[in-house]
Symmetry: C2
Subunit: 146 residues, 2 copies
DNA sequence: GATTATTCGTTGCATTTGCAACGATGTCAA
DNA sequence: TTGACATCGTTGCAAATGCAACGAATAATC
């Protein structure tokens, strides 16, 4: 009888839709990383950046992989305790920390990267028809979204 | 000299990219809802579903708006304490709760919906060139992503 | 109808999170 | 040099989170 006061559908609301989609994508990998390797997503991001950049500070991780400073710090501490990372003080600026992969960390990354690339290939296949437009839309969001 | 052991760029890795984009989209609204109305995203989802469906249970919210059962329960409890929702026991099945908007809740929703629709319109303008493909890609992810 | 299972919403509890400090180090100008 | 200020990584703390377990209510099975 009474029509809805205002037409609004959460299921088509982009912030909600994107959040659910992002959770869906992350969960697949996250569960495997957690169950098989005991690694969280934050730790995974730290590892990727250290593996890529060689010797990085917490600040650098914080800026590059979208992790809160304290979250990056705690993830790095756990990875060090697990033997995957080593910390040294930077000689030039002793406030900075130089994080590097241990041999165990490098070996772990081989496994994690293989799994991630596999996953990415499956996603590419699924999304191939929309890949270009999806990338363009994400670019627009990441640079210009209000 | 030594090339990277494996070519992998987090910035182009879809799970990461989608997560950051989703955070970007949610944060805009979330900050406003929090600062101006003291409402969290979980509470916003509960309100939307109650406003849309009239009288709903916690279970229904849990299933429809992608909220953990306990998260939905606590969000509803806070909304009730703030005077936006009222709870009654369902007569047919006394395990179920019937959540409905109070007048204050309905008034709040008018504000929140106006803000959300404004935001959606701005996003539509930004993403118009890619809208169709973005929707198709999100559909594919939400139904078929591994 | 009695008994066993299942489902509902809530809550206890350990962990995680975000934010604001903090001490330590570095920078800059008086 | 000295003092005020900024930045680094860490940590204290309150709030949020996820999960399992709970009591209450219903469904299913015998």
């Amino acid at each position: 009888m009474t029509p809805p006061a205002s037409s609004f559908d959460l299921a088509t609301f982009l912030p909600y839709r994107m959040t659910v989609a992002a959770e869906r994508l992350s969960t697949g990998l996250a569960r495997r990383y957690r169950d098989d390797y005991g690694i969280t997503i934050a730790e995974w991001r730290v590892l990727v950046h250290v593996a890529d950049a060689g010797s990085v500070s917490i600040r650098e991780i914080h800026r590059r992989v979208h992790l809160e400073k304290s979250k990056a710090s705690r993830a790095a501490a756990r990875l060090q305790a697990a033997g995957y990372l080593s910390k040294q003080v930077n000689g030039d600026d002793r406030r900075l920390i130089a994080l590097t992969l241990t041999p165990a960390g490098a070996a772990l990354m081989q496994d994690l990267l293989r799994i991630a690339l596999d996953y990415q290939h499956r996603l590419d296949a699924l999304l191939a028809p929309h890949a270009a437009a999806l990338d363009a839309a994400l670019d627009a969001i990441l640079t210009d979204a209000p």
